[in-house]
Symmetry: none
Subunit: 205 residues, 2 copies
Amino acid sequence: MDKISDKVINRLTQYHSILGDCIKKGTTTVTSSYMAALLKVDDSQVRKDVSMLNNTGKSRVGYNAFQLKETIEKTLGFKNPKNALIIGAGNLGSALAKYNDFESYGLNVKALFDVDKNKIGSEINTKPVLDIEKLPEFLKKTNIEIAILTVPADFAQDIADYAVECKIKYIWNFSPTVLSVPIDVEVWNENLMGNFLQFSYKISR
Amino acid sequence: MDKISDKVINRLTQYHSILGDCIKKGTTTVTSSYMAALLKVDDSQVRKDVSMLNNTGKSRVGYNAFQLKETIEKTLGFKNPKNALIIGAGNLGSALAKYNDFESYGLNVKALFDVDKNKIGSEINTKPVLDIEKLPEFLKKTNIEIAILTVPADFAQDIADYAVECKIKYIWNFSPTVLSVPIDVEVWNENLMGNFLQFSYKISR
């Protein structure tokens, strides 16, 4: 398949989200017109986008939701692999390092970094745990785009500053604090508290 | 006040986090532009969000940090605590059990459950790790509303069925799979893959 344009990638991620929601509701077949209506695009646009993918699960009544979702995941994952490292080899960092699904989405965790001498030198899911002091050296050798922060909240800002100094441009922040970073650095906050509160708010009504 | 959207809830929890950090540092007044800059959103967005709340502590120089923090807590119902248990005492389950912030947000994790005999009988952050077979008995004694699922994807459906049998009504699912549950059971999927896809999409541009 040829290069996918940003606009198409944008729509694919939205189809992906809709398919996930449909599957959640127990719907196994989804039509192009259903997705088109939700995204306020033309039906033919959805069909054109999907026809570019190597998707097989199409019947007269619509797309197989599971297959199309998987096709989109594969398409996006294989097209844009990104290297990442995890800072903080505690429980959460270890859990993410063991999350093999990330790779099929194009997120390759190359190493973990920590300050704990007992952890440094070990491996988690075949990924080495390295001394945080070795971060600049490691980044010179390896093309890393994303730092995944799983350190305690009190250390998160210092570690983020350090990562930014080491030329990290994207931070996926799992620490429960809001980071202050330069304008050219992107932070994606994985706000578990916020997610819980959305859930909590929903179920208390 | 009308129903609050997920996006607003998410921002409110981030304002809450910023306010907490400010108070820790001894700052008592916080401006909308300060919070807006940290979250890289527009100033007017912050003012609009806050104006929806029944918040009183606003002066010409900014919001009273204590009052706004408390207003957010009241709005989102942190003061109506909910009891939860974690099923799966692996890395992710342990990380969540150690997440002390949950308690200040009204989520009290009472115990963890696992099948691993090496884990059963231990404690994680003062919370006992119990045999999954003891779940029905435990639920009879303790008022638990939420089961947090952190088991591998392959076991998630069986464990969810079991939790539902044990009268659990709310499941916060961290397993990367879509669960099928009866209509009266609410599942909140913590979709890390989907979150990554959005981030990945954003930074690919």
